[in-house]
Symmetry: C2
Subunit: 452 residues, 2 copies
């Protein structure tokens, strides 16, 4: 078992060997080396054909490097990996095996072989068939994705544990666009050694991480998985997306990481039993991630919707119902109070409809009046009318600091709303481009069973 201490070294290696380093970013081994140029630790390219790569002294093999390294990255064809791993004994603590062509393409024997060799050499392995590790706090980046093609998210509080590189790649895209920061990322592929359970244990105590995203195709040891998932989820929210659900998905998962996906229904019901959040698909995952990276979860189910578009309020109410929320009408006393404040044609119910005649300060007037009667708030501010201005962002930020309950925001998409979206998110409020997705974000923040 990896302990927190040892895994910390995986994310903070003092020295890294790049086996299969190349001279050009046109090759994977070149992209990886280039991404490590800005790394603060010592980096040793390994390639017998070169004396120097990208200005760095290059070594024929791992054994020729002047010191044992904390981390080696292996980007050579699958057939060479056994021999390379044998050299690791006493020369490397961790190895990320990026190479593919193991169980996922039917070469189970080769995979068994590297597992055995790695274990005998005393090296902890990530992969094979993976992209490795990412830590923006020290610029560790073993991903073979060129940064001009896949921008890295800013530093932040979301950790990503993904069996798939593609999932992480797509998630990075969403994080950059949605202004979500990352604390750690790992893709672990076929998982011959270190797997999600080890990483959960590490992340539970990682102070930079507040939320953990986990994309899983298969789990080797179900009991251990549940144990570590519960341990983690007690400390910070864990969001699990399990793929390979049906027969075709399972076949695809096996072809992808060479591990059997197992019976999905059993997996899902066990997650539910322990109150661990299971995400239905990629979009639900990103919606919930966004909410939890911006705000801390709390309890309750009474939602107040304030809108300037009636139809958006109705769609949000429908989604609240589907998610088990209550959209209770205003109390008679509050209704009377609101009628004193607002014009006759405003719809003073729940949703409160401020109509196209809205002025931005009215959202906060309503929020202040009703803050004690509801557990969470959905603000719908469609930017098509002149009463919605960028000042709304600051007003909501001030209100949120005062009330300490979850608030999410929905606005229409399009360039016109871009600046407002940015300001509202800077104010710590997640923005969604449909009413239903906003409610799903709120759902991530309000759980009856979560102690907050």
């Amino acid at each position: 078992m990896a302990t927190m201490e040892t895994l910390d070294l995986l994310f903070k290696p003092r020295s890294i060997a790049v086996i299969g380093a190349a001279h050009t970013p046109e090759k994977l081994g070149g992209t990886i080396l280039k991404n490590l140029l800005k790394y603060k630790g010592r980096v040793y390219p390994v390639n017998p054909k070169y004396d120097e790569l990208m200005g760095m002294k290059t070594y024929p093999s791992l054994s020729d490097i002047p010191e044992p390294v904390d981390l080696s990255l292996i980007a050579r064809p699958a057939s060479e990996v056994p021999e390379i791993l044998r050299e690791h004994r006493g020369r490397a603590r961790f190895a990320v095996i990026i190479s593919s062509g193991f169980a996922e393409t039917g070469h189970e024997n080769l995979q068994d072989e590297i597992k055995k060799i790695g274990n005998e050499a005393g090296v902890r392995m990530i992969g094979p068939n993976c992209m490795g590790v990412y830590n923006p706090y020290n610029r560790l980046d073993t991903f073979f994705l060129p940064p001009d093609r896949v921008r890295r998210p800013k530093r932040g509080n979301v950790a990503v544990v993904s069996q798939s590189g593609a999932f992480l790649h797509c998630l990075f895209g969403v994080m950059v666009v949605a202004n979500i920061g990352i604390s750690r990322a790992v893709t672990y592929g076929n998982a011959v050694d270190i797997d999600e359970s080890d990483l959960y244990e590490y992340l539970a105590d990682n102070p930079e991480t507040d939320v953990v995203i986990s994309y899983i195709e298969s789990v080797r040891d179900g009991r251990r998985f549940i144990e570590k998932a519960r341990l983690l989820d007690k400390k910070k929210p864990l969001l699990v997306l399990k793929s390979g659900k049906g027969s075709s998905g399972q076949a695809a998962a096996y072809s992808h990481t060479g591990r059997l996906a197992g019976r999905y229904e059993v997996f899902s019901s066990v997650l539910g039993q322990f109150g661990i959040r299971e995400m239905k698909d990629f979009d639900e995952m990103t919606d919930c991630m966004k909410a939890l990276s911006y705000q801390r979860p709390s309890r309750g189910k009474k939602i107040l919707i304030i809108t300037n578009g009636g139809g958006s309020g109705v769609l949000a109410s429908d989604e609240c119902m589907r998610q088990g929320f209550e959209v209770r009408r205003l109390s008679d006393e509050k209704m009377r109070r609101m009628k004193e404040i607002f014009p006759d044609f405003y719809v003073l119910n729940n949703p409160v409809d401020l109509t196209a005649q809205v002025e931005d300060a009215q959202y906060v007037t309503v929020l202040k009046e009703l803050k004690d009667e509801y557990d969470g708030f959905l603000i719908v501010a469609l930017t098509g009318v002149r009463g919605i201005t960028e000042n709304l962002a600051g007003m909501l930020r001030d209100f949120m600091a005062e009330v300490g309950k979850p608030i999410v925001f929905h606005t229409s998409c399009g360039c016109e709303s871009g600046r407002l979206v940015n300001l509202v998110e800077k104010a710590g409020i997640p923005v969604y481009l449909s009413p239903e997705r906003a409610v799903k974000g709120l759902k991530a923040l309000l759980r009856p069973q979560f102690a907050g």
Copy 2:
């Protein structure tokens, strides 16, 4: 009943009166007038306080305009609307009543009154509590949304029939971003006269419309609704989003348009019985709209997934299963053939995984080999690797012209993929930013019960 001929005049009026026209776009009546400055027909501002507005001669009342008009727009407080409508006898064929403050705020009597007055005056009414009509083919635009805040979509083939202005506002945002064109749009609010059924009948024969989007909170005459919906859906796809589903949603819908939403389950089951597509939420609506605006629907359920990211393929397979599609593995013969063509580490199953080593031309190689064995195709091309280039768009366009079956495309989000997304959509292939949404788009294009 409105016939197609009469409703054609609503979208192509020779003359328009703007009752409540204002001198500044800061007011709704000013925005409307400004948006009509570029209209090709005759426009008459009506406002007793001005002789001239925005350079146009202005009239004290409808009766003072030198000719009867085809269309009047009423943007005055609710209390004035009865008197204004009385003046319509013989002076206007259609009236769009933009004013709110009728049944949706509890003033049912006032609404009954205007309905009676309008009928007696022989004027066909849209609204009240609505934004009216939009026809990009002649620049008719009665919406009070300033174009600098809500950009209008380009001309195209999607008609929008929406009870809610907010829904339309949000949909316009999506259409602009997703490069989807519009043929007609109407928001009809409380629907005292012209409703969705009338509009379906008109759109069934409208040559500029290939797809109809309908957002409904309540239906007055269920039997007539179903009759017209079926008539329309036989000619072109109708996508219905019914809101006001649960008790809170129904209360919200009543507060919004002053009409009872009715029992949702009955509505939904009748739609299903007649094979009319019901959308679950705003996002499903926009995903399906996009697919159907780009390609014509056909039949079948066998899907081929070609990806360069394994995890994305697994998530897509899972969604295919949920949507009732089949993701059959390749026949033995085709498998052999593919193994001759591609490297050993490619996963030649379904999904076909071209891995991070992909070259763009390989997608078309696979498509050409397997085109006869599948009914629809999902291309996943994550742009993080150098083998994906903008040339892929042209290759797919050529293949599509040759094969005539639905193709959808998924790529990661982020600026890096922006240009490729644009080119692929210009090539007539809808792009989605998650694997699951791409499959939902494909679902809109492949129906067992749709004759194509």
